[in-house]
């Protein structure tokens, strides 16, 4: 992988979860609320269709 600028590469800055306190700033903990998002279908691309195989030619009996 290409080198990333040191200041924006979290692997080198060693960020971790709860104790890091340095995640993207989206607000203070006291304004958080938890929601459950349960889509009927996950928003993922449909798998590519399997290639259609041509049926092998059957030998025609003489």
């Amino acid at each position: 992988m290409s080198k990333l600028p040191a200041r924006v590469d979290g692997l080198r800055s060693g960020r971790t979860c709860t104790s890091m306190g340095r995640g993207l700033d989206i607000g203070k903990p006291d304004t958080e609320r938890e929601i459950e998002v349960l889509p009927v279908e996950e928003p993922l691309p449909a798998p590519a269709p399997a290639p259609v195989e041509e049926p092998a030619e059957q030998p025609i009996p003489a």
Binding site: L4, G23, T31, E36, V37, P39
Partner: protein, 151 residues
């Protein structure tokens, strides 16, 4: 009794990514952790806490209220653009990777806050590329099956 609000519509937030032009095709990488976003598969958040890794009893499913884990997304495009410009200018030009700005679908357990969300699952929704070319755009379009435009 308090119940967690439920939605069946994925949340759409804004993110930025590095675009890593690997030989197998371009791949999106998280800006903060350099985690690869696999093409065609959802990203699932995990707690990276050292304590959680060392002590299974301390680990938890991500995201969790009051913690910092989860897949992040911002509520406003303008905030993501500002972040892109600030972080993009932080590093030297010679080793910069192309960058992507775009919307991301979030679902599963989601922690909402005033400026954005932290989510359990995520997948890109659409992308605008900076510092990339047509070949990279076509590769991302093909592999991630999302709309991709060049800035």
């Amino acid at each position: 009794m308090s119940r967690t609000p439920t939605s069946i519509e994925p949340v759409l937030g804004w993110r930025i990514w590095h675009v890593d032009p690997t030989p197998g095709g371009p791949r999106l990488r998280s800006w903060a952790h350099s985690t690869e976003w696999p093409a065609g598969q959802k990203v699932e958040a995990h707690c990276r806490s050292i304590l959680g890794l060392a002590l299974p009893a301390w680990s938890h499913a991500a995201p969790r209220k009051g913690h910092a884990c989860g897949v992040y997304a911002l509520r406003d495009r303008a905030a993501a653009e500002t972040m892109l410009h600030e972080l993009g200018e932080a590093g030297p030009a010679f080793n910069r990777l192309p960058a992507a700005l775009g919307r991301v679908s979030l679902w599963g357990r989601v922690v909402e806050n005033v400026a954005g969300w932290r989510a359990q699952f995520a997948y890109p929704y659409d992308l605008v590329l900076f510092g990339a070319d047509d070949e990279i755009a076509a590769g991302l379009r093909r592999d991630y099956a999302v709309d991709v435009a060049l800035a």
